[in-house]
Protein backbone atom coordinates (compact mmCIF):
# COMPACT_ATOMS: atom_id res chain seq x y z
CA UNK A 1 0.00 0.00 0.00
CA UNK A 2 1.27 3.46 -0.84
CA UNK A 3 1.64 5.62 2.24
CA UNK A 4 3.10 8.71 0.62
CA UNK A 5 2.25 10.04 -2.80
CA UNK A 6 3.82 13.36 -3.65
CA UNK A 7 3.52 14.52 -7.22
CA UNK A 8 5.16 17.37 -9.07
CA UNK A 9 5.95 19.47 -6.04
CA UNK A 10 7.28 22.87 -6.82
CA UNK A 11 8.41 25.73 -4.63
CA UNK A 12 9.90 29.12 -5.35
CA UNK A 13 11.12 31.41 -2.62
CA UNK A 14 11.28 35.12 -2.97
CA UNK A 15 14.00 36.70 -0.97
CA UNK A 16 15.42 40.19 -1.39
CA UNK A 17 13.64 40.65 -4.68
CA UNK A 18 15.15 37.51 -6.21
CA UNK A 19 13.26 34.32 -6.85
CA UNK A 20 14.95 31.09 -5.86
CA UNK A 21 13.57 27.94 -7.43
CA UNK A 22 14.19 25.65 -4.47
CA UNK A 23 12.13 22.74 -5.78
CA UNK A 24 11.20 22.45 -9.44
CA UNK A 25 9.72 19.03 -9.82
CA UNK A 26 9.71 16.41 -7.12
CA UNK A 27 7.52 13.33 -7.17
CA UNK A 28 7.97 10.60 -4.61
CA UNK A 29 6.00 7.53 -3.66
CA UNK A 30 6.73 5.36 -0.68
CA UNK A 31 4.97 2.18 0.26
CA UNK A 32 4.72 0.67 3.72
CA UNK A 33 7.84 -1.05 5.03
CA UNK A 34 9.87 0.90 2.51
CA UNK A 35 12.83 3.17 3.18
CA UNK A 36 13.49 5.81 0.56
CA UNK A 37 16.80 7.61 0.76
CA UNK A 38 16.53 11.12 -0.57
CA UNK A 39 19.96 12.29 -1.60
CA UNK A 40 21.30 15.47 -3.07
CA UNK A 41 23.99 18.11 -2.63
CA UNK A 42 23.56 21.06 -0.26
CA UNK A 43 20.78 23.36 -1.34
CA UNK A 44 19.26 20.80 -3.71
CA UNK A 45 15.84 21.20 -2.12
CA UNK A 46 15.60 18.16 0.16
CA UNK A 47 14.48 19.95 3.30
CA UNK A 48 12.03 22.08 1.36
CA UNK A 49 10.52 18.93 -0.18
CA UNK A 50 10.27 17.20 3.18
CA UNK A 51 8.57 20.18 4.77
CA UNK A 52 6.11 20.38 1.91
CA UNK A 53 5.29 16.75 2.52
CA UNK A 54 4.88 17.41 6.24
CA UNK A 55 2.50 20.28 5.60
CA UNK A 56 4.90 22.87 7.00
CA UNK A 57 5.58 24.64 3.72
CA UNK A 58 2.86 25.28 1.20
CA UNK A 59 3.86 24.09 -2.30
CA UNK A 60 3.37 26.46 -5.23
CA UNK A 61 2.20 23.54 -7.30
CA UNK A 62 1.81 19.80 -6.92
CA UNK A 63 0.06 17.52 -4.53
CA UNK A 64 0.80 15.61 -1.37
CA UNK A 65 -1.24 12.63 -0.25
CA UNK A 66 -0.53 10.75 2.92
CA UNK A 67 -2.63 7.62 3.15
CA UNK A 68 -4.87 9.38 0.67
CA UNK A 69 -5.16 12.64 2.60
CA UNK A 70 -3.74 16.09 1.99
CA UNK A 71 -1.85 17.41 5.04
CA UNK A 72 -2.33 20.98 3.85
CA UNK A 73 -6.11 20.70 3.94
CA UNK A 74 -6.91 17.91 6.31
CA UNK A 75 -5.59 18.15 9.88
CA UNK A 76 -6.22 14.41 10.26
CA UNK A 77 -3.54 13.71 7.68
CA UNK A 78 -1.01 15.16 10.10
CA UNK A 79 -1.73 12.30 12.49
CA UNK A 80 -0.08 9.98 10.02
CA UNK A 81 3.16 11.97 9.96
CA UNK A 82 6.09 11.84 12.31
CA UNK A 83 9.07 14.03 11.57
CA UNK A 84 12.54 14.72 12.83
CA UNK A 85 13.64 17.91 11.16
CA UNK A 86 17.11 19.00 10.27
CA UNK A 87 19.32 20.90 12.66
CA UNK A 88 16.47 21.32 15.10
CA UNK A 89 16.14 20.26 18.64
CA UNK A 90 12.66 18.90 17.98
CA UNK A 91 12.17 18.33 21.73
CA UNK A 92 12.09 20.51 24.84
CA UNK A 93 15.46 20.71 26.46
CA UNK A 94 14.04 21.79 29.77
CA UNK A 95 11.94 18.66 30.07
CA UNK A 96 12.95 15.05 30.61
CA UNK A 97 12.58 12.39 27.90
CA UNK A 98 9.55 10.97 29.66
CA UNK A 99 7.88 14.38 29.93
CA UNK A 100 8.65 15.17 26.31
CA UNK A 101 7.16 11.92 25.08
CA UNK A 102 4.00 12.28 27.13
CA UNK A 103 3.53 15.92 26.19
CA UNK A 104 4.00 15.35 22.48
CA UNK A 105 1.77 12.29 22.68
CA UNK A 106 -1.11 14.41 23.90
CA UNK A 107 -0.26 17.15 21.42
CA UNK A 108 -0.49 14.60 18.64
CA UNK A 109 -3.92 13.52 19.80
CA UNK A 110 -3.40 10.68 22.29
CA UNK A 111 -5.06 10.57 25.68
CA UNK A 112 -2.84 11.22 28.68
CA UNK A 113 -2.91 7.56 29.62
CA UNK A 114 -2.10 6.15 26.20
CA UNK A 115 0.63 8.74 25.81
CA UNK A 116 2.18 7.66 29.07
CA UNK A 117 2.09 3.99 28.12
CA UNK A 118 3.50 4.58 24.67
CA UNK A 119 6.22 6.72 26.25
CA UNK A 120 7.22 3.85 28.48
CA UNK A 121 7.39 1.38 25.62
CA UNK A 122 9.38 3.73 23.43
CA UNK A 123 11.82 4.64 26.19
CA UNK A 124 12.57 0.99 26.64
CA UNK A 125 12.89 0.28 22.97
CA UNK A 126 15.20 3.25 22.41
CA UNK A 127 17.29 2.33 25.45
CA UNK A 128 16.49 5.56 27.20
CA UNK A 129 14.73 4.15 30.24
CA UNK A 130 17.71 4.86 32.45
CA UNK A 131 17.74 8.50 31.40
CA UNK A 132 14.01 9.06 31.43
CA UNK A 133 14.21 11.46 34.38
CA UNK A 134 17.25 13.46 33.28
CA UNK A 135 16.83 16.77 31.53
CA UNK A 136 17.22 16.49 27.79
CA UNK A 137 19.92 19.15 27.77
CA UNK A 138 22.14 16.87 29.84
CA UNK A 139 21.86 13.94 27.43
CA UNK A 140 24.43 13.11 24.77
CA UNK A 141 23.83 14.12 21.17
CA UNK A 142 23.06 10.54 20.22
CA UNK A 143 20.50 10.13 22.96
CA UNK A 144 18.87 13.41 22.04
CA UNK A 145 18.56 12.23 18.48
CA UNK A 146 17.13 8.90 19.55
CA UNK A 147 14.64 10.74 21.71
CA UNK A 148 13.67 12.96 18.78
CA UNK A 149 12.92 9.86 16.74
CA UNK A 150 10.97 8.34 19.61
CA UNK A 151 8.93 11.54 19.93
CA UNK A 152 8.21 11.43 16.21
CA UNK A 153 6.85 7.92 16.70
CA UNK A 154 4.78 8.56 19.80
CA UNK A 155 1.45 8.67 17.98
CA UNK A 156 2.29 5.66 15.83
CA UNK A 157 2.41 7.44 12.46
CA UNK A 158 2.53 5.54 9.18
CA UNK A 159 5.01 7.91 7.60
CA UNK A 160 8.26 8.92 9.22
CA UNK A 161 10.27 11.79 7.79
CA UNK A 162 13.90 11.95 8.91
CA UNK A 163 15.95 14.89 7.71
CA UNK A 164 19.61 14.03 8.31
CA UNK A 165 19.00 11.82 11.33
CA UNK A 166 22.65 10.90 11.75
CA UNK A 167 24.11 14.39 11.46
CA UNK A 168 26.80 14.91 14.06
CA UNK A 169 26.52 11.46 15.61
CA UNK A 170 29.49 9.26 16.44
CA UNK A 171 29.93 5.79 14.99
CA UNK A 172 28.13 3.99 17.76
CA UNK A 173 25.16 6.33 17.84
CA UNK A 174 24.93 6.20 14.04
CA UNK A 175 24.88 2.44 14.29
CA UNK A 176 22.01 2.42 16.73
CA UNK A 177 20.01 4.95 14.72
CA UNK A 178 20.50 2.74 11.68
CA UNK A 179 19.26 -0.29 13.56
CA UNK A 180 16.21 1.62 14.76
CA UNK A 181 15.36 2.87 11.30
CA UNK A 182 15.45 -0.67 10.01
CA UNK A 183 13.20 -1.91 12.81
CA UNK A 184 10.77 0.94 12.41
CA UNK A 185 10.40 0.26 8.70
CA UNK A 186 9.92 -3.44 9.33
CA UNK A 187 6.91 -2.61 11.50
CA UNK A 188 5.14 -1.47 8.37
CA UNK A 189 5.97 2.20 8.29
CA UNK A 190 7.15 4.20 5.31
CA UNK A 191 10.34 6.13 5.90
CA UNK A 192 11.75 9.03 3.95
CA UNK A 193 15.25 9.89 5.00
CA UNK A 194 17.83 12.35 3.79
CA UNK A 195 21.49 12.01 4.50
CA UNK A 196 24.84 13.08 3.21
CA UNK A 197 26.39 9.83 4.39
CA UNK A 198 25.93 7.69 1.32
CA UNK A 199 27.05 4.48 2.95
CA UNK A 200 24.11 4.83 5.30
CA UNK A 201 21.73 5.31 2.40
CA UNK A 202 23.24 2.30 0.68
CA UNK A 203 22.79 0.13 3.73
CA UNK A 204 19.38 1.28 4.81
CA UNK A 205 17.35 2.17 1.79
CA UNK A 206 15.18 0.09 -0.48
CA UNK A 207 15.06 2.87 -2.99
CA UNK A 208 17.09 5.97 -3.71
CA UNK A 209 15.96 9.26 -5.16
CA UNK A 210 18.65 11.73 -6.10
CA UNK A 211 17.68 15.35 -6.30
CA UNK A 212 19.79 18.02 -7.90
CA UNK A 213 18.88 21.64 -8.49
CA UNK A 214 15.34 21.01 -7.29
CA UNK A 215 14.66 18.09 -9.62
CA UNK A 216 14.73 14.36 -9.06
CA UNK A 217 17.34 13.06 -11.47
CA UNK A 218 17.00 9.36 -10.71
CA UNK A 219 14.73 7.24 -8.63
CA UNK A 220 15.43 3.52 -8.52
CA UNK A 221 15.66 0.58 -6.19
CA UNK A 222 19.02 0.86 -4.45
CA UNK A 223 20.36 -2.51 -5.63
CA UNK A 224 19.16 -1.84 -9.18
CA UNK A 225 20.92 1.51 -9.26
CA UNK A 226 24.13 0.02 -7.96
CA UNK A 227 23.93 -2.84 -10.48
CA UNK A 228 23.42 -0.44 -13.37
CA UNK A 229 26.44 1.55 -12.46
CA UNK A 230 28.66 -1.38 -11.70
CA UNK A 231 30.91 -2.25 -14.61
CA UNK A 232 30.98 -5.85 -15.67
CA UNK A 233 34.41 -6.18 -14.13
CA UNK A 234 35.93 -8.87 -11.95
CA UNK A 235 38.94 -9.22 -9.79
CA UNK A 236 40.64 -12.54 -9.21
CA UNK A 237 42.87 -12.53 -6.19
CA UNK A 238 45.43 -15.32 -5.83
CA UNK A 239 47.28 -16.35 -2.74
CA UNK A 240 50.71 -15.99 -4.31
CA UNK A 241 52.08 -14.15 -7.30
CA UNK A 242 52.02 -16.11 -10.57
CA UNK A 243 54.88 -18.21 -11.81
CA UNK A 244 56.44 -17.10 -15.13
CA UNK A 245 54.76 -19.78 -17.28
CA UNK A 246 51.28 -18.96 -16.17
CA UNK A 247 52.04 -15.27 -16.16
CA UNK A 248 53.04 -15.50 -19.76
CA UNK A 249 49.89 -17.36 -20.73
CA UNK A 250 47.56 -15.03 -18.93
CA UNK A 251 49.30 -11.91 -20.13
CA UNK A 252 48.28 -12.81 -23.63
CA UNK A 253 44.61 -12.43 -22.66
CA UNK A 254 42.95 -9.04 -22.37
CA UNK A 255 43.60 -8.54 -18.66
CA UNK A 256 45.58 -6.44 -16.25
CA UNK A 257 47.83 -8.14 -13.75
CA UNK A 258 49.14 -6.56 -10.59
CA UNK A 259 50.99 -8.87 -8.20
CA UNK A 260 48.43 -11.33 -6.87
CA UNK A 261 45.49 -9.60 -8.50
CA UNK A 262 44.13 -10.08 -11.99
CA UNK A 263 41.56 -7.61 -13.33
CA UNK A 264 39.20 -8.95 -15.96
CA UNK A 265 36.36 -7.28 -17.81
CA UNK A 266 34.58 -10.28 -19.28
CA UNK A 267 32.99 -13.13 -17.48
CA UNK A 268 34.15 -15.77 -19.92
CA UNK A 269 37.78 -14.72 -19.38
CA UNK A 270 37.36 -15.40 -15.70
CA UNK A 271 36.82 -19.07 -16.47
CA UNK A 272 39.72 -19.21 -18.87
CA UNK A 273 41.99 -17.76 -16.27
CA UNK A 274 40.74 -20.10 -13.62
CA UNK A 275 41.58 -22.99 -15.95
CA UNK A 276 45.11 -21.71 -16.30
CA UNK A 277 45.73 -21.12 -12.61
CA UNK A 278 44.32 -24.47 -11.56
CA UNK A 279 45.24 -25.88 -9.03
CA UNK A 280 46.83 -22.85 -7.40
CA UNK A 281 45.00 -21.55 -4.35
CA UNK A 282 43.14 -18.25 -4.75
CA UNK A 283 41.63 -15.90 -2.20
CA UNK A 284 38.56 -14.65 -4.01
CA UNK A 285 36.84 -13.83 -7.25
CA UNK A 286 34.69 -10.69 -6.91
CA UNK A 287 32.51 -8.64 -9.14
CA UNK A 288 33.28 -4.95 -8.77
CA UNK A 289 30.42 -3.04 -7.21
CA UNK A 290 29.95 0.65 -7.74
CA UNK A 291 29.29 2.35 -4.44
CA UNK A 292 26.40 4.70 -4.10
CA UNK A 293 28.95 7.41 -3.55
CA UNK A 294 30.47 7.03 -7.01
CA UNK A 295 27.02 6.89 -8.60
CA UNK A 296 25.95 9.96 -6.74
CA UNK A 297 28.96 11.98 -7.79
CA UNK A 298 28.60 10.85 -11.35
CA UNK A 299 24.93 11.77 -11.59
CA UNK A 300 25.27 15.07 -9.85
CA UNK A 301 28.25 16.10 -11.95
CA UNK A 302 26.66 14.99 -15.21
CA UNK A 303 23.73 17.15 -14.32
CA UNK A 304 25.92 20.10 -13.56
CA UNK A 305 27.56 19.88 -16.98
CA UNK A 306 24.19 19.93 -18.70
CA UNK A 307 23.33 23.32 -17.21
Amino acid sequence: MLILEASHLQKNYRSQGKTVAAVRDVSLNIAEKEVLAFLGPNGAGKTTSIKMIAGLILPDAGQVRIVGRDPHRDACARRSIGAVLEGNRNVYWRLTPEENLTYFGVLRGLSQRTAHQRAKTLLERFELTEKRRSLVQTLSRGMQQKLAIAVALIHDPQLLLLDEPTLGLDVEATQSVKRLVREIAAEGRAILLTTHQLDIAEELSDRVAIINGGEVVVEEPTTELIRQFSNAAYTIELEHALDSVRLDKISRLDVVIKHEKIYVNQLKLVYEILEIVRPLPFVQVVKDQASLEEIFLKLVQENRMKC
Partner: protein, 256 residues
Protein backbone atom coordinates in the same frame (compact mmCIF):
# COMPACT_ATOMS: atom_id res chain seq x y z
CA UNK B 1 -9.17 18.92 27.63
CA UNK B 2 -6.26 16.52 27.86
CA UNK B 3 -4.28 19.03 25.82
CA UNK B 4 -5.08 21.66 28.44
CA UNK B 5 -3.93 19.38 31.24
CA UNK B 6 -0.79 18.47 29.33
CA UNK B 7 -0.03 22.14 28.80
CA UNK B 8 -0.72 22.86 32.45
CA UNK B 9 1.71 20.16 33.44
CA UNK B 10 4.30 21.39 30.97
CA UNK B 11 4.16 24.98 32.14
CA UNK B 12 4.15 23.92 35.77
CA UNK B 13 7.23 21.76 35.30
CA UNK B 14 9.10 24.44 33.39
CA UNK B 15 8.10 26.99 35.97
CA UNK B 16 9.07 24.96 39.00
CA UNK B 17 12.31 23.80 37.43
CA UNK B 18 13.28 27.37 36.78
CA UNK B 19 11.80 28.81 39.92
CA UNK B 20 14.70 31.19 40.35
CA UNK B 21 13.79 32.93 37.09
CA UNK B 22 10.22 33.30 38.25
CA UNK B 23 11.18 34.65 41.63
CA UNK B 24 13.59 36.99 39.88
CA UNK B 25 10.72 38.22 37.73
CA UNK B 26 8.46 38.82 40.70
CA UNK B 27 11.11 40.62 42.70
CA UNK B 28 12.33 42.60 39.70
CA UNK B 29 8.87 43.78 38.76
CA UNK B 30 8.18 44.79 42.33
CA UNK B 31 11.47 46.61 42.77
CA UNK B 32 10.98 48.62 39.59
CA UNK B 33 7.63 49.76 40.86
CA UNK B 34 8.97 50.56 44.29
CA UNK B 35 11.76 52.55 42.69
CA UNK B 36 9.27 54.55 40.68
CA UNK B 37 7.18 55.04 43.77
CA UNK B 38 10.09 56.30 45.89
CA UNK B 39 11.42 58.63 43.23
CA UNK B 40 8.01 60.12 42.60
CA UNK B 41 7.60 60.72 46.28
CA UNK B 42 11.03 62.27 46.43
CA UNK B 43 10.29 64.64 43.56
CA UNK B 44 6.85 65.54 44.85
CA UNK B 45 8.10 66.20 48.36
CA UNK B 46 7.39 64.43 51.63
CA UNK B 47 4.02 66.06 52.21
CA UNK B 48 2.59 64.63 48.99
CA UNK B 49 -0.36 62.29 49.34
CA UNK B 50 -1.01 59.81 46.58
CA UNK B 51 -4.45 58.73 47.79
CA UNK B 52 -6.64 57.03 45.15
CA UNK B 53 -4.09 57.88 42.54
CA UNK B 54 -1.54 55.48 43.93
CA UNK B 55 -4.08 52.68 44.12
CA UNK B 56 -5.09 53.36 40.55
CA UNK B 57 -1.50 53.28 39.40
CA UNK B 58 -0.86 50.03 41.25
CA UNK B 59 -3.82 48.41 39.52
CA UNK B 60 -2.52 49.60 36.16
CA UNK B 61 0.99 48.44 36.93
CA UNK B 62 -0.03 44.98 38.05
CA UNK B 63 -2.26 44.56 35.01
CA UNK B 64 0.69 45.61 32.91
CA UNK B 65 2.83 42.95 34.55
CA UNK B 66 0.13 40.37 33.83
CA UNK B 67 0.00 41.51 30.24
CA UNK B 68 3.77 41.12 29.97
CA UNK B 69 3.61 37.55 31.24
CA UNK B 70 0.92 36.68 28.70
CA UNK B 71 2.86 38.42 25.96
CA UNK B 72 5.98 36.54 26.98
CA UNK B 73 4.08 33.26 26.92
CA UNK B 74 2.63 33.67 23.48
CA UNK B 75 4.85 36.00 21.46
CA UNK B 76 8.04 35.31 23.41
CA UNK B 77 7.34 31.58 23.48
CA UNK B 78 6.75 31.49 19.76
CA UNK B 79 9.94 33.31 19.07
CA UNK B 80 11.96 31.08 21.33
CA UNK B 81 10.49 27.89 19.93
CA UNK B 82 11.16 29.03 16.40
CA UNK B 83 14.77 29.53 17.41
CA UNK B 84 15.22 26.22 19.19
CA UNK B 85 13.24 24.26 16.62
CA UNK B 86 10.30 22.89 18.57
CA UNK B 87 7.85 25.19 16.80
CA UNK B 88 7.52 23.06 13.71
CA UNK B 89 6.66 20.06 15.85
CA UNK B 90 3.74 22.05 17.25
CA UNK B 91 2.50 22.77 13.76
CA UNK B 92 2.54 19.05 13.03
CA UNK B 93 -0.13 18.56 15.66
CA UNK B 94 -3.60 17.75 14.46
CA UNK B 95 -4.85 20.52 16.76
CA UNK B 96 -4.75 23.83 14.95
CA UNK B 97 -1.97 26.19 15.98
CA UNK B 98 -4.23 28.83 17.59
CA UNK B 99 -5.84 26.11 19.71
CA UNK B 100 -2.45 24.87 20.89
CA UNK B 101 -1.29 28.36 21.77
CA UNK B 102 -4.56 29.29 23.45
CA UNK B 103 -4.42 26.16 25.56
CA UNK B 104 -0.88 27.08 26.47
CA UNK B 105 -1.92 30.56 27.39
CA UNK B 106 -4.87 29.37 29.47
CA UNK B 107 -2.74 26.82 31.22
CA UNK B 108 -0.18 29.38 32.23
CA UNK B 109 -2.85 31.94 33.07
CA UNK B 110 -3.49 30.19 36.33
CA UNK B 111 0.18 30.27 37.19
CA UNK B 112 0.50 33.83 35.94
CA UNK B 113 -2.37 34.96 38.12
CA UNK B 114 -0.70 33.48 41.16
CA UNK B 115 2.58 35.18 40.31
CA UNK B 116 0.73 38.40 39.75
CA UNK B 117 -1.06 38.24 43.05
CA UNK B 118 2.27 37.89 44.80
CA UNK B 119 3.58 40.96 43.00
CA UNK B 120 0.45 42.81 43.98
CA UNK B 121 0.75 41.70 47.59
CA UNK B 122 4.40 42.77 47.73
CA UNK B 123 3.64 46.17 46.28
CA UNK B 124 0.77 46.67 48.67
CA UNK B 125 2.94 45.87 51.62
CA UNK B 126 5.75 48.13 50.44
CA UNK B 127 3.60 51.14 49.63
CA UNK B 128 0.90 50.68 52.23
CA UNK B 129 -1.78 50.86 49.59
CA UNK B 130 -5.27 49.72 50.42
CA UNK B 131 -6.94 48.17 47.45
CA UNK B 132 -10.23 46.37 47.77
CA UNK B 133 -11.02 43.07 46.10
CA UNK B 134 -14.75 42.95 45.43
CA UNK B 135 -16.04 40.11 43.23
CA UNK B 136 -17.02 42.74 40.67
CA UNK B 137 -13.37 42.97 39.66
CA UNK B 138 -13.67 39.72 37.71
CA UNK B 139 -15.91 40.83 34.81
CA UNK B 140 -13.58 43.69 33.83
CA UNK B 141 -10.56 41.45 34.40
CA UNK B 142 -12.05 39.10 31.83
CA UNK B 143 -12.24 41.87 29.26
CA UNK B 144 -8.66 42.90 29.96
CA UNK B 145 -7.53 39.30 29.54
CA UNK B 146 -9.34 38.98 26.23
CA UNK B 147 -7.57 42.09 25.01
CA UNK B 148 -4.24 40.90 26.39
CA UNK B 149 -4.53 37.58 24.54
CA UNK B 150 -5.54 39.37 21.38
CA UNK B 151 -2.57 41.72 21.53
CA UNK B 152 -0.25 38.84 22.36
CA UNK B 153 -1.45 36.85 19.38
CA UNK B 154 -0.98 39.90 17.19
CA UNK B 155 2.60 40.28 18.43
CA UNK B 156 3.02 36.52 18.03
CA UNK B 157 2.04 36.90 14.40
CA UNK B 158 4.74 39.49 13.94
CA UNK B 159 7.23 37.18 15.63
CA UNK B 160 6.26 34.36 13.29
CA UNK B 161 6.84 36.44 10.19
CA UNK B 162 9.63 38.81 11.16
CA UNK B 163 11.47 36.53 13.63
CA UNK B 164 13.52 39.35 15.12
CA UNK B 165 11.00 41.22 17.18
CA UNK B 166 12.79 41.46 20.50
CA UNK B 167 13.56 45.16 20.06
CA UNK B 168 10.01 45.82 19.00
CA UNK B 169 8.68 43.91 21.99
CA UNK B 170 10.82 45.98 24.31
CA UNK B 171 9.51 49.25 22.96
CA UNK B 172 6.03 47.86 22.91
CA UNK B 173 6.21 47.05 26.63
CA UNK B 174 6.58 50.70 27.47
CA UNK B 175 3.72 51.67 25.22
CA UNK B 176 1.66 49.15 27.16
CA UNK B 177 2.73 50.57 30.51
CA UNK B 178 1.60 53.96 29.34
CA UNK B 179 -1.67 52.49 28.14
CA UNK B 180 -2.41 50.79 31.43
CA UNK B 181 -1.78 53.86 33.49
CA UNK B 182 -3.84 56.21 31.33
CA UNK B 183 -6.84 57.25 33.40
CA UNK B 184 -9.25 56.70 30.50
CA UNK B 185 -12.19 56.32 32.86
CA UNK B 186 -11.98 60.01 33.71
CA UNK B 187 -11.85 61.18 30.12
CA UNK B 188 -14.79 63.02 28.62
CA UNK B 189 -16.04 64.05 25.20
CA UNK B 190 -14.35 62.69 22.11
CA UNK B 191 -11.37 61.57 24.18
CA UNK B 192 -13.75 59.22 25.87
CA UNK B 193 -14.47 57.41 22.62
CA UNK B 194 -10.74 56.99 22.12
CA UNK B 195 -10.59 55.53 25.61
CA UNK B 196 -13.14 52.96 24.54
CA UNK B 197 -11.22 51.99 21.46
CA UNK B 198 -7.75 51.64 22.98
CA UNK B 199 -6.94 48.00 23.68
CA UNK B 200 -7.80 46.83 27.21
CA UNK B 201 -8.16 50.44 28.40
CA UNK B 202 -11.88 50.38 29.28
CA UNK B 203 -11.50 47.16 31.27
CA UNK B 204 -8.47 48.51 33.09
CA UNK B 205 -10.41 51.69 33.87
CA UNK B 206 -13.25 49.69 35.36
CA UNK B 207 -10.83 47.73 37.48
CA UNK B 208 -9.42 50.94 38.88
CA UNK B 209 -12.98 52.05 39.60
CA UNK B 210 -13.87 48.98 41.59
CA UNK B 211 -10.54 48.26 43.22
CA UNK B 212 -9.05 51.70 43.90
CA UNK B 213 -12.04 53.99 44.12
CA UNK B 214 -14.44 51.55 45.66
CA UNK B 215 -17.12 52.24 43.04
CA UNK B 216 -19.74 49.79 41.86
CA UNK B 217 -19.25 48.18 38.51
CA UNK B 218 -20.84 50.18 35.72
CA UNK B 219 -22.33 47.42 33.58
CA UNK B 220 -22.89 49.70 30.63
CA UNK B 221 -19.24 50.57 30.43
CA UNK B 222 -18.48 46.92 31.02
CA UNK B 223 -20.39 45.98 27.87
CA UNK B 224 -18.21 48.39 25.96
CA UNK B 225 -15.14 46.89 27.59
CA UNK B 226 -16.34 43.41 26.68
CA UNK B 227 -16.90 44.41 23.10
CA UNK B 228 -13.45 45.97 23.09
CA UNK B 229 -11.94 42.75 24.45
CA UNK B 230 -13.74 40.54 21.96
CA UNK B 231 -12.68 42.76 19.06
CA UNK B 232 -9.01 42.70 19.99
CA UNK B 233 -9.13 38.99 20.72
CA UNK B 234 -10.67 38.20 17.33
CA UNK B 235 -8.24 40.51 15.61
CA UNK B 236 -5.32 38.75 17.28
CA UNK B 237 -6.52 35.28 16.31
CA UNK B 238 -7.25 36.46 12.78
CA UNK B 239 -3.76 37.92 12.40
CA UNK B 240 -2.26 34.78 13.81
CA UNK B 241 -4.00 32.56 11.28
CA UNK B 242 -2.96 34.88 8.53
CA UNK B 243 0.67 34.90 9.61
CA UNK B 244 0.64 31.11 9.94
CA UNK B 245 -0.42 30.88 6.30
CA UNK B 246 2.13 33.45 5.22
CA UNK B 247 4.92 31.71 7.10
CA UNK B 248 3.99 28.40 5.48
CA UNK B 249 4.02 30.05 2.09
CA UNK B 250 7.40 31.65 2.66
CA UNK B 251 8.89 28.59 4.30
CA UNK B 252 9.60 30.57 7.43
CA UNK B 253 7.98 28.57 10.21
CA UNK B 254 11.37 27.70 11.58
CA UNK B 255 13.95 30.37 12.11
CA UNK B 256 15.12 30.50 8.50
Amino acid sequence: MSLFLAELKRSWIQLSRYASEVIGGVVGTTIIFYGLFLSTRYIAGPGFQFGDRLDGIIVGYVLWALMLFILGDIAGGLQQEARTGTLEQLFLSSYSAPVVFLMRAFASLLLNLIINLSILALIMVLTGSQLSFPPTLFPPLLTVLLGAYGISFAMGSLALILKQVQQLLNVFQFALLFLFTLPVETWTGSLRVIGWILPMAPGAGLMRDVMARGLDLNWQTWLIALLNGICYFSLGIFLFRWSEKTAKRQGKLSGY
